[in-house]
Symmetry: C2
Subunit: 189 residues, 2 copies
DNA sequence: AGCTGTTTTTGATATTTATCAAATTATCGG
DNA sequence: CCGATAATTTGATAAATATCAAAAACAGCT
């Protein structure tokens, strides 16, 4: 079965016709480590599903790269603001590993919404899940100390630490690389 | 016309039957300043629309109240995590002013999703808008200084400063009341 | 193994923000 | 207008984190 369909079954059942229509419109693309899925200034016109690999969203501030999210296997990916508004993206999306993604254009997905109520329902449900995750991350980021954020990350997503360089993790946590390095040292003792 | 229907027209058109079904299921409730729309520990089983007034979502941490969002006229309101998961809420929702809200139960709204594809579409679109707002707030909160957050707030939502006590604004910005007070002093000069 | 460029750690210091305590100012009912 | 209560500001100090510079550790390549 198609990996996207497989994953969607976790959220809501699809009838076979909808499955087929969706499958037909999903295109597989492979990327190498350090490739860009999206560069800032470009409009993000696709919704993606990451089958294999890892990527990050980052933007540039005062010449520094600020990674504000990571994506791994079985995550839906897009540059949300750009995708929704049709404005040029201010963020870049870059692969951290050799990866495989499935892509569907906004136009095609929107047409599927019209044709299949249940596909729009799936997206509604996925938005709910992602909103909850972001809300939790927001509250944590704002009200926890750097050390707490690090231990949370270890428990919540230890694979990130294995697969991502430290400088990207530190900006994800909203701290400098030096501070993260010192926190780790504390933590190890 | 019903104020909720009126507002929904900003997002997507509704047919008259859907309008009627929705209107019939919306109940108007008035509250006084300091009343609670939801107390922590209770499950949030309604989706609300704030017609008039103001409220805040807050939770308690180390004996302190942390306000993490505000709602004003024409905002949709719910304790999102509790509403979606059916788990007891960890946040409280309290009115900052005498207010009027419209309420629909999760059960009734879910039934309307089945009956009217376009109502589910509306909610999907509203989620997109709220996700974008949260995403922007997340990035700002994490990577801007306290002074920048304050000046942003002045430009983005000056009404908050008129209608909300300082201690609540400071926790919303993720800083202490004293720090906010000092920032304002700087800013005024 | 040795070279090279990159990533991570360490050290010294500066800056930002929090904390605690007290003083001042604003608000509201009588 | 007065007094009580709450909200905001001010001051002194402590804690957390950033910054800048350099050293150490690591990774890929030959």
């Amino acid at each position: 079965m198609h990996p996207v369909i497989q994953h969607l079954k976790n959220y809501y059942p699809l009838n076979p016709t909808a499955e087929n229509m969706l499958t037909e419109r999903l295109a597989s693309i492979t990327f190498s480590k350090n490739d860009f899925l999206l560069k800032k200034g470009r409009v993000c016109q696709h919704f993606y599903f990451l089958e294999k690999g890892a990527l990050r969203g980052f933007y540039e501030l005062d010449g520094k790269e600020i990674t504000h999210w990571f994506g791994f296997e079985n995550n839906f990916i897009t540059s949300f603001h750009s995708y929704i508004t049709g404005q040029p993206s201010i963020e870049n999306i870059q692969f951290l590993e050799d990866s495989t993604v499935w892509a569907i254009s906004k136009k095609e997905l929107t047409e599927l919404f019209d044709a299949f109520h249940e596909i729009e329902r799936l997206v509604r449900i996925i938005y709910e899940q992602y909103y909850m995750q972001l809300e939790e991350r927001y509250v944590n980021a704002q009200f926890k100390t750097a050390a707490e954020l690090y231990t949370d990350l270890i428990h919540r997503a230890p694979h990130i630490l294995q697969r991502v360089p430290l400088g990207q993790i530190s900006s994800y946590l909203g701290i400098t690389q030096e501070t993260l390095s010192r926190i780790r040292k504390q933590h190890a003792q």
